[in-house]
Amino acid sequence: MTKLLVDNKEIEIEPGTVLLEACLRNHIYIPNLCYLPGMPHPDASCRLCFVEIDGKVVPSCTVKVNGPMRVKTDTPAVRKLQQSALRLLLSVHEVDCANCPANKQCALQEIARFLRVGLKPKGLDRLLKEPSIVSDHPFIDFYPNRCVLCGRCVRLCRTKEGRPQMNFSARGFNTVISFYGANRESMPTCEECRSCLKACPVGALVLREPARE
């Protein structure tokens, strides 16, 4: 076991554990969206899980604990980066919580509260995508303007299926999740898997009603 000091709290953890995971397990909350336990190469794409180690700010999902270290999760530099990242995410997010199935269990709402960032950030244009609902999956609807592009669904689909049925498509502001070429024959396991639906931190993937046929 390795000891580390996080915000002056001493925690013990197995060597080789991802720092973010170590903190979360010891009830030290670090905002995160794209992290999935057990992934060999974390994307570190949400830019929210920053911590400060010896004065250096790093995403904690990319750090493995291999010896004693001093970690701070609440420094001005860390918070500033996290708040900027969240504000940018919210600027491409359709904030219509009342009509969103993820309302009150949404990771974005939770993180916004934690970081004290308003859901409608000032000073940034809101860029929304067209169309607002994509229905190229037999029974899942995708809402591009709710999606935070964390990629958890894509990575899970890839690990579970081997041949991913969902992918990122396009680039930059136009990036969306796509089920291109997907149909019932090409993904017989979709019906019972539903990992993507469960993994979505927001309400971007929704079972279409009626769910079957």
Binding site: Q165, F168, R171, S178, G181
Partner: protein, 174 residues
Amino acid sequence: MHEISAEEQQQIAVCIGAFAPKRGSLVPILQRIQDEFAYLSGEAMRKVAAHLGITPGEVYSVATFYNQFRFHPPGKHAIKVCLGTACHVRGGEVILENFQRKLGIREGQTTEDKEFSIDRVACVGCCALAPVALLGDKVYGHMAPSKVEGLILGIHLEKERQEREKAKHESNNS
């Protein structure tokens, strides 16, 4: 969906067959197919996926990442709107929007009658004329919304004139 003829199927197979069935061949194959057909059809992407042992979704994912690939056959009159730095500053975006609204399609798409397609390009090399649009190979500088109307109207009139002449010709012959 555009119909793919048996001959085109054959052509696609030839393009794909020239490359080893490994992931690294994906972009070169797509480039070859686009060279041949000027766009990537759904059928072509499915065939590429089968050759490489990946899903059509993965092919689509890679293809949409690059600006060089298009997914609709170019129209008879290919419109290219420049959005390079100079044209961007002089309102190229407005010109693009005007073309899109006038023709009822988005960039990268082709009208139903296959007459027009719209694409955005980054710098045509005549920034002094910004904002610039190309119709086929012909460059139109100092574009303005009224010129967009004029260009499209011009093409429609020209088409009508040709049709009239053709009809006249036929009636003369008969």
